[in-house]
């Protein structure tokens, strides 16, 4: 095996090293709260957002409960304790203070940032058919195509705006899927969340365009605590995309988000993520700590589908889940998680089958390179009422080189005798033989590895909306490329 090791050290190693393209910083004057967390900070955040009293109370309750909670330590990740008092909980570009009414009033520097990231916010320059909410540190910079969506009755805006404009909807559903005391990071988020997106699709409406939110962390020493709430009323359909990047920095930054999805009877929500937070350098210096709670509730005949492509973050702690509450509801989870350098990912899903004839599918593809660690953690629970519930799980791991690790932690609990759970797991290496076949046909090793890895992920990529699938493929390629132009 000596030459296998040699190959791993030369070719693969070179191939999996690449630059982080979104690592630039935008120079804008920001209004940033001093570091530290206490009730006053929460009051300031709430006041800055001109929130009603009930929401402030909700935050404070969350905060008081959170203080009694312990940081979870069961995940297969290691990191020094995060000093939550060294983080600033609110940072917004000063230019956003007057709440610009239109894009013309938005600081061109901010628009340029998104343009550089490939997300032009001027509607005429955008991909037709995709509406974008752009969140910069703690505020939403702009939401596009709002009026066009309003014609269909669709509400798509920042959550701060939704609190002001649609308080009845927010109050009804906020925390209904992920309660404020759900877990340590969700509790923290509930206390200090700043911005995120809000979506409401009325009964029977098929959302006329893809909705997407782009999260950007810019300011140093801040945390981003986004909160997203999507409600699909009876028989409606929406496809929502989420993208994220952050500057390249030596310190770790915390991103603790909560995403709640409500699919009312007969509704379908398709939620896709391409996560490309700064992953840290080769030695594990810097990068985002991504501690995220994502969960959806599917009512009768409703369907929730999570698709994620995770290539960034120093640490990923994330388990997009579906509570299959209604009969005949469907939950899906398709995931590609790529780790390299010293990245650590502990990611997977939970499918909680409560209703009868519920069905869930889990396809997880983990790719590990460098000195990284990549774990799949999944729970499939069949409740006592879950007659004829079915789950199929497939977990595949691909190793590039021999200094990385892949782990699978599947948990299965069945409380109904008619429930079926299938689990398949494989671990493979990009073999010498595959690489040699490609090279013998004239294909250079870099291209060959990217082709083999893309092939490995195909089942997941085909679940992504088309433009995103192309992006995801490119992102993987860039993440795997040795020389980035």
């Amino acid at each position: 095996m000596s030459s296998q090791a040699e190959l791993d050290n030369s070719e693969l190693d070179r191939v999996i090293r690449s630059e982080y393209e979104a690592g630039f910083t935008t120079l804008v004057e920001s209004d940033t709260l001093p570091p530290g967390l206490n009730e006053d900070v929460i009051r300031v955040i709430s006041a800055k957002k001109e929130e009603p009293e009930w929401l402030l109370e909700w935050r404070l309750e969350a905060y008081r409960h959170w203080q009694t909670m312990q940081e979870p330590n069961w995940a297969h990740v290691e990191y020094p304790p995060v000093d939550l008092n060294a983080i600033s909980y609110y940072s917004a570009p000063k230019s956003m203070e007057g709440r610009p009414k239109s894009l013309d009033e938005v600081d061109p520097e901010l628009l340029e940032t998104y343009k550089k990231l490939g997300i032009p916010l001027h509607e005429q320059e955008m991909l037709a058919g995709v509406a974008v909410d752009a969140v910069f540190d703690s505020v939403s910079v702009a939401t596009t195509f709002k009026s066009k969506l309003a014609e269909a009755g669709v509400i798509f805006c920042s959550i701060s705006e939704a609190v002001r404009e649609h308080p009845e909807l927010v109050r009804k559903y906020l925390g209904s899927v992920v309660p404020k005391g759900d877990n340590y990071f969700a509790g923290l988020n509930s206390a200090v969340f700043t911005d995120g997106s809000f979506v409401y699709i009325p009964k029977g409406v098929r959302c006329p365009m893809e909705l997407s939110t782009y999260f950007r962390i810019n300011e140093a020493n801040t945390g981003q605590f986004e909160r997203t709430l999507i409600v699909a009323d009876e028989g409606s359909y929406v496809s929502y995309l989420e993208g994220c990047t952050a500057p390249q920095r030596d310190e770790n930054q915390l991103h603790a988000a909560v995403v709640e999805l409500v699919a009312l009877p007969g509704a379908e929500i398709k939620y896709s993520t391409v996560q490309n937070w700064y992953p840290g350098d080769e030695d594990g210096k810097g990068g985002i700590y991504n501690f995220v709670t994502k969960r959806g509730v599917a009512h009768d005949h409703a369907k929730i589908s999570w698709t994620q492509v995770e290539t960034g973050s120093a640490i990923t702690w994330k388990y997009p889940s579906v509570v299959l509450r209604g009969d005949h509801s469907v939950g899906e989870f398709y995931s590609v998680a790529l780790t390299r350098h010293a990245q650590q990912a502990d990611t997977g899903t939970k499918m909680i089958h409560l209703g009868r004839n519920t069905k869930s599918t889990i396809v997880s593809k983990g790719i590990s390179a460098g000195k990284s660690s990549n774990a799949y953690r999944g729970l499939v629970r069949m409740g006592p009422r879950a007659e004829n519930a079915r789950n199929f799980t497939q977990c595949d791991s691909l190793l590039l080189g021999d200094t990385c690790g892949a782990h699978t932690f599947p948990y299965i609990e069945t409380k109904h005798p008619s429930a079926t759970v299938e689990h398949e797991a494989t671990t493979s290496k990009v073999s010498d033989d595959q690489l040699f076949l490609c090279r013998q046909r004239g294909i250079d090793p870099e291209k060959a590895i990217s082709m083999i890895v893309n092939g490995f992920c195909k089942e997941v990529f085909k679940e992504l909306p088309m433009e995103f699938a192309v992006e995801a493929g490119k992102l993987l390629e860039v993440s795997l490329e040795g020389a980035v132009g």
Partner: protein, 259 residues
Amino acid sequence: MLEIRDLHASVAGQPILKGLNLTVKPGEVHAIMGPNGSGKSTLANVLAGRDNYEITGGEALFEGKSLAELEPEERAQLGLFLAFQYPVEIPGVSNMEFLKAALEATRAAQGKEEWDSVTLLRKAREACKQVDLDPQFLKRGVNEGFSGGEKKRNEIMQMLLMEPKLALLDETDSGLDIDALQTVAKGVNSLRGPERGIVLVTHYQRLLDYIVPDHVHVLSGGRIIKSGGKELALELEQHGYGWLTDDQNGGNDKEDRTA
């Protein structure tokens, strides 16, 4: 085009080839025969540059360039093609995608015009037809779930498209029934031409009924111990390898290193 002089090579540190000489000129078809473990597949893999197969002495020149100094993809780009004995699967990468990448890389390196996707698809379909492979196979993952015979025909299909200068066929006949053998042979014969060299590595004479070689060599103990015309293959068929290898040491002491 291929000039091998006193070639010594080892596989994972184990000497297998021990002073092999062979010259292949454009337009010639050479058959390399020999008992199991004689080093036939090693020769094919050494020429193609597989990892672990190391040249320890002598030289192998292809188009005047020393193969030892070239990466496998550079050899392929120069026009050296190996049809594998055990073609490996690449799940999720379609045959078409694979062919596109291969042809882009090799045609550009050889200064040939680039094929647009319409041309490529048409050529690929023709090549499939030539080896009796359903064009649906172009959409499937490379060798993914193919039968043994389909994998071999897929190799020949790739060879037809890539139009190599020198084609090495490593036991392409093994595991094929007589119909498939004829199909494969037809494909190989269609590539015969004054510009192209073909080296067939085979254990059995059977393939040579359909692809008639210009030269036959018997490899044993890591060396060519006898060369002749096509009639030599028939002699081997009748008498086996014993009469040639009895006085050669090391005929059967090692398995072919292939996979």
